[in-house]
């Protein structure tokens, strides 16, 4: 057994933390009137370093560190790549978004980095205590980010709603952890799996799973725990919405996968019906809700509820395939949703001048490139072939069919049909209608950072839609970690820190 230093197991998180602290330290040194862009570039280089570090982690043999609380493996690396990618693009897109509107831009970059640390730790934790702390790190950062347009009336409201319902959900998650600890005497996922196998109290375990599912359901906005989503997405700044509708959700889904397949792997009869019901509810409520919306951000919020439902469908196709398709869907969804919100943020500007569907009438004539980019993301959200969304849905529904959940696949496909309607309505609005003359033209010019960020996303959408194999094989490796390592990899002796 080669010994791997424990720090290497959390290297990407360490790099991001250091960059975040550096950003906070440099922020007061920079002249108060000066642009905060250099801090943004620093944050971007930190994120690039974290991506490189994750690539390095892939070369390491999978294993745990810090008393078995974090595990770096193909699964954590896959989600690290997704989250780092989201953070990178969000930073690029917001380089100019806040410029001149608020003086707290330095803190914005630092908060995004710290939030990313929490999300990435969530995906590599195999200990409920670690999962709880990293969940809070990511949540607390996003609570603040949601309220970043301080002077507007809606942003603080979004922030407080997100905060109250988020902490409410966290308490449920925490109660679930306590009951899990009570049933098995441990908070380590592998020990919990062993406790379940050796016959721990099924009642306590069932209630514990339900509580944890409620907590995570709030975080990923599954129906019926979705009520906060439209309000928060409407009030929060658009680039932040792009981040928080994808990255924390990817992390929470990773936790859910680790709990379902890792800890509760032998109790599929318990969680399968629950997941089934939540998936159907989220898809249906999300899509029907989106149909009635006049506000574009609210519409996309409902669509994100529906997409969380599609993702849950992947859970029902058991074993490695389910994890692989869930991972792939997270990546595909991240690319298109971050992109859609980035373009919305650009078109409506910091003051959110364009909020309703009607404001997007004829926008293709005024902003042809931005409209084209938005169309790519919307078509991908529908699931048109040659886009990321198509293969995401394809793998999810094939998995459901193969595991005998034909009804779930049928309901999902019907839902995708309904969903096409409201995405196409926005597209038609942009291309078919004459421009609204009352709305003054957007003064914001497309800057290099924004163009680069959106270009990366458009490329990602097409790359995942035309050459999905590379990402899919990464996702397969991620899925395989659950089948090839049912037990924790033996811990190197070196980390057994002297006891007392």
């Amino acid at each position: 057994m080669t010994e791997v230093s424990p720090v290497l197991r959390i290297l990407p998180e360490v790099l991001l933390t250091l960059t975040g602290v550096l950003v906070m330290l440099l922020e007061p040194v920079i002249d108060i009137k000066a642009s905060r862009k250099p801090l943004g570039f620093l944050a971007i280089s930190g994120t690039l370093a974290a991506i490189a570090a994750t690539g390095y982690q892939l070369q390491l043999p999978p294993g745990t560190a810090f008393f078995g609380s974090v595990q770096s493996d193909a699964f954590s690396a896959f989600f690290h790549f997704v989250i780092c990618g989201i953070v990178l693009v969000t930073l690029l897109v917001s380089l100019d978004y806040f410029e001149g509107h608020t003086t707290y831009v330095g803190e914005y970059y630092a908060l995004i980095l710290f939030g990313a640390v929490g999300m990435m730790l969530m995906t590599s934790s195999v200990e409920l205590l670690m999962i709880f702390i990293s969940l809070e790190i990511s949540s607390i950062s996003t609570y603040i980010l949601a309220g970043y347009r301080k002077r507007s009336a809606t942003s603080p409201e979004a922030s407080i709603k997100y905060f109250l319902l988020g902490s409410f959900a966290t308490s449920f998650f925490l109660y679930g952890i306590a009951l899990c600890f009570g049933a098995t005497g441990s908070t380590n996922l592998f020990d919990i799996a062993r406790g379940i196998a050796s016959g721990a109290s099924p009642l306590l375990l069932t209630v514990a799973f339900g509580m944890m599912l409620i907590g995570l359901g709030f975080k990923v906005s599954l129906a019926p725990f979705h009520v906060w989503t439209p309000d928060v997405y409407e009030g929060a700044p658009a680039p932040v919405v792009g981040l928080m509708s994808t990255a924390p959700k990817a992390a929470a889904f990773a936790v859910l996968l680790r709990i379902c397949y890792g800890a509760y792997g032998t109790m599929t009869h318990l969680w399968m019906p629950l997941i089934w019901i939540l998936a159907v509810l989220s898809m249906t409520i999300g899509n029907l809700g989106a149909l009635t919306q006049r506000n574009v951000k609210r519409m996309l919020a409902y669509s994100s509820i529906a997409h969380a439902g599609y993702l849950l469908v992947a859970f029902t196709s058991l074993a490695a395939l389910g994890i692989a398709s869930a991972g792939f869907y997270t990546a595909a969804y991240a690319a298109m949703n971050v992109g859609a919100f980035a373009v919305l943020g650009y078109l409506s500007g910091f003051d959110e001048k364009r909020t309703n569907l009607i404001d997007y009438a004829g926008i293709a004539r005024r902003h042809p490139v931005a409209a084209a980019a938005l169309s790519v993301f919307l078509l991908s959200l529908i699931g048109i072939p040659f886009t990321a969304g198509f293969f995401g849905k394809f793998y999810v529904f094939t998995g459901a069919l193969n595991s005998g959940n034909a009804w779930l696949a049928v309901l999902g496909l019907l839902n995708s049909g309904v969903a096409a309607f409201y995405y196409l309505r926005l597209l038609a609005q942009m291309y078919m209608l004459p421009a609204e003359p009352t709305l003054e033209p957007n003064t914001m010019r497309a800057r290099p950072g924004f163009i680069l960020g959106v270009a990366i996303l458009v490329f990602a959408v097409f790359a995942l839609g035309i050459f999905p194999n590379r990402t899919l094989s990464l996702a397969r490796d991620a899925g395989a970690t659950f089948t090839s390592h049912p037990n924790p990899v033996p811990q190197p002796q070196a980390e057994a820190i002297p006891q007392q």
Binding site: K150, A153, E157, L164, F168, T187
Partner: protein, 101 residues
């Protein structure tokens, strides 16, 4: 005399339920925030009871972390509440309804 663990768990469940109901029916943001703290403390009680039951100190360590996180959450939460009060001059959730559900 040794108190059975069930009593602690019942108390913890009762406190948690009171917190949930208070969260749902109270109208003042500060009170709602307090009910969340009540829920967290109910969880802490459950942790300590289980730690005693399993003779494992890890449950008690968990409680420390919960307290630290609750403090961090309170700091951010109160700041958000202040920012809401500045923009609305009210802390009644029924009047913080610019965006409808």
């Amino acid at each position: 005399m040794d108190v059975p663990i069930a009593w602690y768990l019942i108390l913890s469940a009762a406190l948690f339920s009171i917190g949930v109901f208070a969260f749902l029916i109270k109208r003042n943001i500060i009170t709602i925030f307090m009910s969340i703290e009540l829920m967290l403390n109910a969880v802490n009680l459950a942790f300590v009871a289980f730690a005693h039951h399993w003779h494992q100190v890890s449950g008690q360590i968990f409680v420390f972390f919960v307290m630290v996180v609750a403090a961090a959450e309170a700091a951010v939460g109160l700041a958000i509440i202040i920012s809401v009060y500045r923009s609305r001059e009210t802390l009644n959730v029924d009047q913080i309804n610019l965006m409808k559900l």
